[in-house]
Amino acid sequence: MTVADVINCQELVELVTDYLEGALSPADLRRFEEHLATCGKCTEYLAQLQATIRVTGTLTPDDLTPEAETALLEVFRAFHRGTSSP
């Protein structure tokens, strides 16, 4: 994404993911960091997004229900019954 020489807060929040993914061009990275250096509000926004990622990372995937596990094991067994016959 190309942005004007100076970016404002509304533009910065749209670049945060590109920034965290290392996908900003060198010029955009410079504008991004220059803005952050003087803007506590955007620094706070970035910190909140990083906190969001951190908390999301502590979630555990939902447990497999016993019904789903039974059904899948049945698929596995049926497959092997079908292929293991002489």
């Binding site: 509000k41 926004y45 969001t52 990622i53 908390v55 995937p61 059904a71 698929v75």
Partner: protein, 209 residues
């Protein structure tokens, strides 16, 4: 082929139920979320995952290890889900995967910034991010809120944020498994994370407080 994948393939071919159960435990929730991009109903998605495993088992001899076993399984899942969606006459939301940027969706509501006509600070915060108390971030209730916010996302955004931020996949593996461009993977992740942050802010620091 990756040595761990080679062991897994051998175990699956030999009918090793423990190995199969471990994979299912680890992948099932993510497989459901990916299937639900194409078939929103939980019941149909469960069905698609079963059919996927059947196809995977039948095709194991043809797995060459050019991608990880996980990516390969998820690609079969995506194909199975697409076929199922077509069979059910569903219009596959290709656009959601291939063109998520078509409909603009700001990370932060425009009304939290000064308008473009503002004389001094156009586009600067008028209602800045509200403080989030650090000590409440990891509380069980906060985490439940975050899980609920992810649950409410559009299915493609939900799948991408779940794979990246819950399951810890790399951007590249998500792109390969879901057949997404680099840009689209980022757009989907960006929107998902922005909405989850918003939910966090609304929960931990409501506007009227």
């Amino acid at each position: 082929m990756d040595p761990d994948d080679a062991k897994l393939v051998a175990a699956l071919r030999a009918g090793d139920e423990d190995a199969f159960r471990r994979l299912v435990d680890e992948w099932h929730s993510m497989m459901l979320r990916v299937a639900q991009i194409f078939v929103p109903s939980r019941a149909v998605a469960e069905d698609v995952v079963q059919e996927t495993w059947l196809r995977v088992l039948g095709a194991l001899d043809r797995f060459e290890g050019r991608s990880s076993l996980r990516t390969w399984v998820f690609r079969i899942l995506v194909n199975t889900a697409k076929t199922r969606a077509q069979r059910e006459g569903r219009v596959i939301p290709f656009s959601a995967l291939n063109d998520p940027g078509r409909v603009p969706e700001p990370a932060v509501d425009a009304d939290r910034f000064l308008g473009p006509d503002d004389e001094r600070y156009p586009g600067h915060w008028s209602s800045p991010p509200r403080h989030l108390p650090e000590e409440e971030l990891l509380a069980a209730e906060t985490r439940e809120r975050i899980a609920a916010a992810i649950e409410e996302l559009p299915a493609t955004q939900r799948a991408v944020i779940s794979l990246r931020d819950i399951a810890g996949w790399s951007a590249e593996e998500v792109r390969n498994a879901l057949d997404l461009s680099e840009v689209n993977q980022r757009v989907l992740l960006h929107r998902a994370r922005a909405k989850v942050r918003r939910a966090l802010e609304e929960y931990l620091s409501p506007e009227d407080s």
